[in-house]
């Protein structure tokens, strides 16, 4: 709060900013992208204080996020090939000793603006704005209740994410990192009267804390090894001394990785993300698409110079990514809750991104983040619209044929579009980004990771299957639905209150809730959905252009190539990644092609992966088509068959029960912790409380009890005691006197 005026003044003090001479003047406005969400967060605080009972907080948030998006759009044209550091104000600056490299610590509130930053902020703020607009209608039954709190938290979420992405040093990144964790906690636990939501919020926060520990330790080690936490100075230090063999330097990428895996929901820390859907659906969309889970990918992409000098760490990232993708996809195949399936699909897709990072294609990973952000936001928001309209129903067994339900045609169409994108159907945006990752996996210098390419292809087939399992079950087939038992996301508002769209939709057919009318969404939900769908389609634009004209460099590749994500390659003495070297010099797509010397199945890697990926996707969709649309009974029969045999039973049970990972963590981590906590609690209760504290407290009472019989309430009793005492004293005096006399 105190920082806001200072920030404003530095943002507005146009000419004074210590900008590099070559930087475009527009970059001075970069601070607005941070300032606006912060201001709307503070204004929401005031709204809460003034007990505003209108949609004002939503309007403020949407305006602020829209403003931030406009700022980023403006910056996008202005940012050059060299990174620019914009100092908003000075913050920490300590020196000791002679103040040389390892005798000082500087962390100012700087913005580090390069193309990676702007690329990231583009979809963060853009999708953030649209999701906020969507939420303004989705959450309207909470106006006057949690509405202000919700939008305040959304503003803080976007502010923290901006701080994370745009910060000029690791301290700002860390602050943003923690801010994102806090905001996600507030939003996942939005329905704080619901025990599951509170548990999910705590789970997300605590699991993230484990990762954050890694990030914090990495931050300390980075300072210890390189003497700075500011990006600009850090790259120079790494360039000067790329690969120190000291364990501290070697540990940095592993610790950073831990932080990234926590935030981006990878093995072993992915367990919080599926539970995080206890929050309102726009929050899920925000977490899954724009703000939270992409932070881990950003961290590794940003810190790539530190990873490239450590091939083992990169291989670990690739393996974790690949295995997470596989595990989450198998779980996603067997779930019945639509949002849960999308949550596992997010984990799976994030696995692809980390696979991409691990095999060295920061471009592929960032591109996949970009395309994924759109279609995943679309899928979650359509799921939210369905949930909103069907009283909280998300079970894909109880929803069918929504395409034919009036008021839901648009939503269903967009959801099916999202399904095609998630399944990476040929020539959708995700197809290209996934292609980049898999090609890099097949052609990586590191032979150990080639098998991950095949795993990736298998996961592509599984993804297509489970995506269209939802698609065919929910949106196609005969119209049949049961409303959920919740009345509108826990707020108990009347189904019929705004049923104008769904009033004629009495297809119900189900006796037990005959008068239920699903109501379709209105404009504030429809407009963002359409815009995000357009974004999802246009996300593939860079690849289309490259396809049409092979000399045209991929726009995303250009963005990533001119950022720290590709720096440090020149200093990479191992020379392990041709792809990088090519991209660092020129981002020409043809050149990248030429450099892939590897052949997969006797074909050029791009051709092979493109064909195999398409094949996997279509195969998955066809299986799904048969099992979940043409002959739905077959799916149940298949399940029964698998369940019938001991040899295959574990597959079904395992996948449906999420491979018992939560239970495993319960037994291996939570149970020992609980036991230790109970032992310590018992020691506290028995020894400290009962023994020492209460014991000392009991002493005066016991002492009093000893003498209490003397005070029986009879005055003469007291007098006798007193007279007796006097007599004793007198007798003693007389005895002394007599003895003295002798």
């Amino acid at each position: 709060m105190i920082a806001a005026p200072a920030m404003l003044s530095s943002v507005l003090a146009l000419a004074e900013g210590p900008l590099d001479a070559h930087a475009a003047p527009e970059l001075r406005w970069a601070g607005l992208a941070l300032l606006l969400p912060l201001v709307s967060g503070v204004l929401c605080l005031f709204c809460g204080w003034m007990k505003v009972r209108s949609k004002l907080p939503a309007a403020l948030t949407i305006a602020a996020l829209g403003g931030a998006f406009a700022t980023i759009l403006r910056l996008q044209g202005a940012v050059g090939e060299t990174p620019v550091v914009i100092n908003l104000f000075d913050w920490i600056s300590w020196t000791w000793g002679d103040g040389s490299r390892f005798h000082g610590f500087t962390a100012n509130v700087d913005l580090y603006i390069d193309r990676l930053t702007i690329f990231w902020m583009l979809f963060v703020t853009g999708l953030g704005t649209l999701i906020a607009l969507y939420a303004s209608e989705y959450m309207e039954s909470d106006v006057g209740k949690g509405y202000t709190r919700f939008f305040g938290a959304v503003s803080i979420f976007l502010f923290a994410m901006g701080c994370l992405v745009m910060g000029g040093n690791l301290v700002m990144l860390y602050l943003g990192w923690e801010g994102v964790g806090l905001a996600s906690y507030l939003l996942i636990g939005y329905y704080f009267t619901k025990p599951e939501a509170v548990a999910a919020a705590k789970k997300a926060f605590i699991v993230n804390r484990i990762g954050d520990l890694g990030l914090a330790l990495a931050l300390f080690l980075i300072w210890q090894c390189y003497g700075t936490v500011e990006y600009a100075a850090l790259w120079k230090a790494i360039e000067a001394a790329p690969a120190s063999s000291e364990w501290t330097a070697q540990a940095i990428p592993w610790l950073l990785m831990l932080g990234a895996f926590g935030k981006s929901a990878q093995l072993p820390l992915y367990v919080w993300l599926p539970d995080a859907m206890e929050g309102p659906t726009p929050v899920s969309a925000l977490i899954h698409a724009a703000t939270m889970v992409t932070a881990g990918v950003y961290l590794i992409a940003r810190m790539f110079p530190l990873f490239i000098v450590n091939p083992d760490a990169l291989a670990a990232v690739a393996w974790v990514g690949g295995l997470t993708a596989l595990l989450a996809a198998t779980i996603g195949m067997a779930q019945y809750d639509m949002k849960r399936i999308w949550a596992y699909s997010t984990i799976s897709q994030l696995g692809y991104m980390f696979l991409g990072l691990g095999v060295g294609t920061t471009f592929g990973a960032s591109y996949h983040v970009f395309t994924h952000a759109f279609f995943k936001a679309l899928l979650f928001l359509t799921a939210g619209a369905v949930m909103h309209g069907f009283a909280g129903q998300l079970d894909i067994r109880k929803l069918s044929g929504l395409l034919k339900v009036p008021g839901f045609r648009l939503v269903s169409l967009l959801a099916v579009l999202g399904c095609f994108w998630l399944a990476a159907f040929p020539f959708t945006a995700a197809f290209f980004s996934k292609d980049e990752i898999l090609v890099s996996a097949f052609t990586a210098k590191d032979e150990r990771v080639h098998v991950l390419g095949w795993i990736g292809l298998v996961v592509a087939a599984l993804t297509a299957y489970y995506t269209f399992r939802v698609g065919f079950r929910v949106f196609f087939g005969p119209v049949k639905y049961e409303p959920g038992d919740e009345h509108h996301g826990h707020d108990g508002h009347d189904d019929h209150a705004h049923g104008s769209h769904g009033a004629s939709a009495a297809h119900g057919g189900h006796g037990h809730h005959g008068e239920f009318h699903p109501h379709g969404p209105r404009w504030a939900i429809r407009v963002p959905l359409v815009l995000i769908a357009v974004g999802a389609i246009l996300a593939g634009w860079p690849s289309y252009r490259t396809m049409l004209n092979h000399d045209e460099p991929n726009w995303v590749k250009t963005q990533i190539a001119q950022s720290s994500a590709y720096q440090g390659v020149a200093a990479d003495s191992h020379g392990s990644h041709d792809d990088h070297a090519a991209a660092a010099t020129a981002a020409g797509a043809d050149q990248a092609h030429a450099d892939h010397g590897h052949l997969v199945l006797g074909m050029d890697a791009h051709t092979a992966v493109g064909r195999l990926g398409s094949l996997a996707c279509i195969a998955g969709i066809l299986v799904s088509l048969y099992l979940h649309l043409i002959n739905r009974g077959a799916a149940d029969a298949l399940r029964r068959t698998l369940m019938g045999s001991i040899a295959t039973r574990w597959i079904v049970v395992g996948a449906e029960r999420k491979w018992l990972v939560d239970e495993f963590y319960d037994w291996v981590i939570r149970l020992p912790l609980r036991v230790i906590a109970n032992i310590l609690g018992a020691i506290d209760d028995l020894l400290l409380d009962a023994g020492i504290v209460n014991g000392i407290g009991a002493l005066p009472a016991a002492f009093g009890r000893l003498f209490r019989p003397l005070y029986g309430g009879v005055v003469q009793g007291y007098a006798v005691t007193m007279a007796g005492g006097v007599a004793l004293v007198a007798a003693w005096v007389i005895w002394i006197w007599l003895r003295g006399a002798n």
Binding site: R708, Y711, G712, V714, V715, Q716, A719
Partner: protein, 112 residues
């Protein structure tokens, strides 16, 4: 013994008489206090013990040829007058509560 302290020879009859009287007063007071239940009587008995103690002081003052004992007793008398007023006031209040002057009635103030 302080050689400067002028002192009557031991066994001065007036002093002995005074001490005897004070002993009797104190004994009567203590017996009365222990044997009676009436709060006013008990209070009078304490006054008796009081005066016994005062008389002893005066007697010893006489023994030592010192006026301090008498001065002290005069102070005690004034304080005792005030205290008597207070004590009788308390007795009146206690009587109003229970309509009796017996000290037994207030046994409930016991500790146990």
């Amino acid at each position: 013994m302080n050689p400067i302290d002028p002192q009557l020879p031991p066994g001065d009859p007036l002093v002995m008489l005074g001490l005897l009287a004070s002993a009797i007063l104190f004994a009567v007071g203590i017996v009365g206090f222990l044997s009676r239940r009436n709060m006013i009587t008990m209070f009078l008995c304490t006054e008796l013990m009081f005066q016994g103690a005062g008389l002893a002081m005066i007697s010893y003052g006489r023994q030592h040829m010192d006026l301090s004992g008498q001065v002290f007793v005069i102070f005690i008398l004034t304080v005792a007058a005030a205290e008597a007023a207070l004590a009788l006031g308390l007795v009146v209040l206690l009587y109003r509560r229970k309509e009796t002057l017996s000290a037994e009635a207030w046994k409930e103030l016991a500790e146990s």
